[in-house]
């Protein structure tokens, strides 16, 4: 018996019991479709996270305080070591490290902003003019913090796009006065000098405002530490495009160790690549987890196919005896039943892949309240894997019933009703 004949024969068996075959295939269809959808969702989340990270620019290095030697802080926790200061930033800039394009400090705290009848909760960033280059964006109107603003500790503020929209829904914010209220205790009045271009998505920068770091340092005194310096939560470095980030990172580390006069770094430098790698690990695990859940439904589908094939062998016992009497070998019988299981699984697999892709394509249209729309990315790998898996599902679920069929005693089989 040739493979072609076996497939032909399998098709005839399958279409002779359309409802049963359809329901059996449905198990595989649902299984394969859910594998495609859930794995694609995982990939979609992965891509979203990746995009958000790379949108910041891939050649950024973040220097954060690390409390490895501290007895008080939580290691690696935010502000834990408080070992970074504004003067570190100035010293790093003046050491003119090659490969470094810009360095900016970042101090942020949440505050209430009030303008007329509107108010909003925003993240206030204290930084320097270089920051706008580091986050590779520009202003929509007005200008970003200038060196003059920093030098004069000016009460000037640049609004993120969403903040501007909320505070000034129908007027031009430039030139207006915004009240900045901290814990209902401190109250400052800032002149709006610029509005940032929207970055889109849920980008934090759109919900932030920017003020000169010196203003923060001198006018919002609670940030000052006992030595009179200002602690910086984070220093952001943008390296040149064509340099080895590892090398720049090492140079900064060496310089900062000298500045801090320590042997072991009391800070941590994280590159975008490391962030990406970490996020890929998380999203990869998520994809695997989602895929495994879907795999369970595929397993149930496989059990369904195996079960129906066993029923089919029992029902067709006499037929198997007849086929043996007209010259079918054990191998021919096995081939026939395995081909039948394979055909059901592959047809189910193909349909499942198509349905899965259709669901994925429509998934991004469904919104979930305030959350970002889900996006599913169908990768060729997941399609190929789903197809190969449905092939093996057919092979495995068909193997035992086919073996049972081939080992039937022809005489017993012919005698059965």
């Amino acid at each position: 018996m040739s493979i072609f004949d076996a497939i032909n024969f399998a098709f005839r068996s399958i279409i002779s019991t359309p409802l049963r075959s359809g329901l059996t295939a449905l198990g595989v269809i649902v299984g394969v479709a859910s594998v495609i959808v859930l794995v694609s969702l995982g990939q979609g989340i992965k891509k979203q996270v990746e995009d958000e990270i790379t949108a910041l620019g891939t050649n950024l290095l973040f220097i954060t305080a690390s409390s490895e030697d501290s007895t008080t802080g939580v290691q690696g926790g935010r502000n834990s070591g408080l070992s970074l200061t504004l003067s570190d930033v100035e010293k790093l800039i003046s050491s003119n490290i090659s490969g470094v394009r810009n360095i900016a400090p970042q101090i942020d705290f949440p505050a209430q902003l009030i303008a007329g009848n509107y108010n909003v909760e925003a993240t206030v960033f204290g930084t320097t003019p270089e920051y706008i280059d580091i986050i590779s964006t520009e202003t929509l109107s007005g200008e970003f913090i200038t060196q003059k603003d920093v030098d004069t500790k000016a009460l000037r503020m640049v609004l993120g796009s969403e903040i501007a929209k909320t505070l000034y829904p129908d007027q031009e914010p430039i030139g207006k006065i915004v009240r900045l209220s901290l814990f209902n205790r401190f109250d400052f009045r800032f002149l709006v000098t610029g509005v940032m271009k929207p970055k889109g998505g849920q980008d934090d920068d759109d919900f932030s405002v920017f003020i000169p770091v010196s203003t923060m340092q001198n006018r919002i005194g609670f940030l000052r530490n006992p030595t009179g310096d200002v602690n910086v939560f984070r220093i952001i470095v943008r390296s040149e495009d064509d340099v080895e980030k590892e090398l720049v990172s090492n140079k900064i580390s060496e310089n900062l160790k000298l500045i801090h006069n320590v042997d072991k770094p009391d800070f941590e430098i994280t590159s975008m690549d490391q962030l990406l790698e970490a996020s890929n690990q998380v999203t990869g695990a998520l994809t695997l987890f989602l895929g495994s859940i879907a795999g369970i439904s595929l397993l149930v589908g496989a059990i369904g196919v195996g079960n129906i094939m066993l029923v089919s062998v029992t029902e067709r016992t006499r037929e198997i005896g007849t086929l043996r009497s007209i010259g079918a070998t054990k191998f021919d019988i096995r081939l026939q039943f395995v081909t039948e299981a394979l055909t059901i699984c592959l047809l189910g697999g193909i349909l499942g892949i198509i349905i899965g892709i259709i669901i994925c394509l429509n998934l991004s249209d469904i919104s979930f309240g305030d959350a970002e729309n889900l996006s599913a990315v169908v990768t060729p790998t997941s399609v190929i894997v789903a197809f190969v898996v449905s092939f093996f599902v057919g092979l495995i679920s068909g193997a035992y019933p086919a073996y049972r069929a081939s080992e039937l005693d022809p005489i017993e089989a012919l005698r059965s009703e």
Binding site: D5, R12, G321, R324, S325, I326, G327, T329, K330, L414
Partner: protein
């Protein structure tokens, strides 16, 4: 052509041993039309199954065309079975979902015969069903279904036809037509071995073998 030498078949049921065949000796030559008679349990079917290579003797030798086939492996026996024998059953044993022409093609499918459609139509025409080749079993009468199964037995050009009560489910007139076909086949040189209860059917054969308690009497 067929030679059984002291063939015994013992079924071990666990409680006792049933001697279905006891040292049966039998020689059949080409073109014989043999009727096997006997009460149920006399060993007719067991002997037929051994001759048709569906079963193996417990003891004794089975020589088919000068070869000892009792010890060959299952694959070779399956191939010989398909090539040398044609089976006709009391209840036709057609595959319900296949049209007549596809039923008849099945034995050739296992032999990977490329001309099977043509040969199948020839076999059906020969048996008088040339007009109904695309009908499925449910659309055919009992006599027609038995003709399809005879065509299926004949399509591979067998040397021996094994028929187990081929007229058992048919009315007298249709039964006679089927026996007529067997007579013609044996005249063409095909050995026909037929099990029957019916004396009026058996008398058409050139040789009648009576069996009782696993022995030829």
């Amino acid at each position: 052509m067929i030679e059984l030498q002291k063939v015994s078949k013992i079924f071990d049921t666990g409680f006792n041993q049933v001697h279905a065949l006891s040292e049966v000796n039998l020689k059949l030559s080409q073109g014989e039309f043999v009727a096997i008679k006997g009460p149920s349990g006399s060993g007719k079917s067991t002997m037929m199954n051994i001759i048709g290579l569906l079963d193996r003797p417990t003891q004794g030798k089975y020589i088919l065309a000068n070869n000892d086939v009792s010890t060959m492996n299952d694959k070779i026996r399956s191939k010989i079975r398909g090539k040398v024998f044609g089976f006709v059953f009391q209840s036709y044993n057609l595959i319900p979902r296949l049209s007549a022409v596809r039923q008849v093609e099945m034995p050739l499918m296992y032999r990977k015969d490329k001309d099977r459609r043509k040969k199948s139509i020839v076999a059906l025409s020969k048996i008088g069903l040339g007009e109904r080749i695309f009908h499925s079993p449910v659309e055919l009468s009992g006599g027609e279904q038995q003709r399809v199964s005879i065509a299926r037995a004949l399509v591979g050009e067998p040397k021996i036809i094994l028929a187990d009560e081929p007229t058992g489910a048919l009315d007298t007139k249709t039964g006679e037509e089927i026996i007529g076909i067997f007579k013609n086949l044996s005249e063409e040189g095909i050995t026909v071995i037929m099990i029957t209860h019916d004396n009026s059917v058996a008398k058409n054969a050139t040789r009648i073998i009576e069996m009782k308690d696993g022995m030829i009497v």
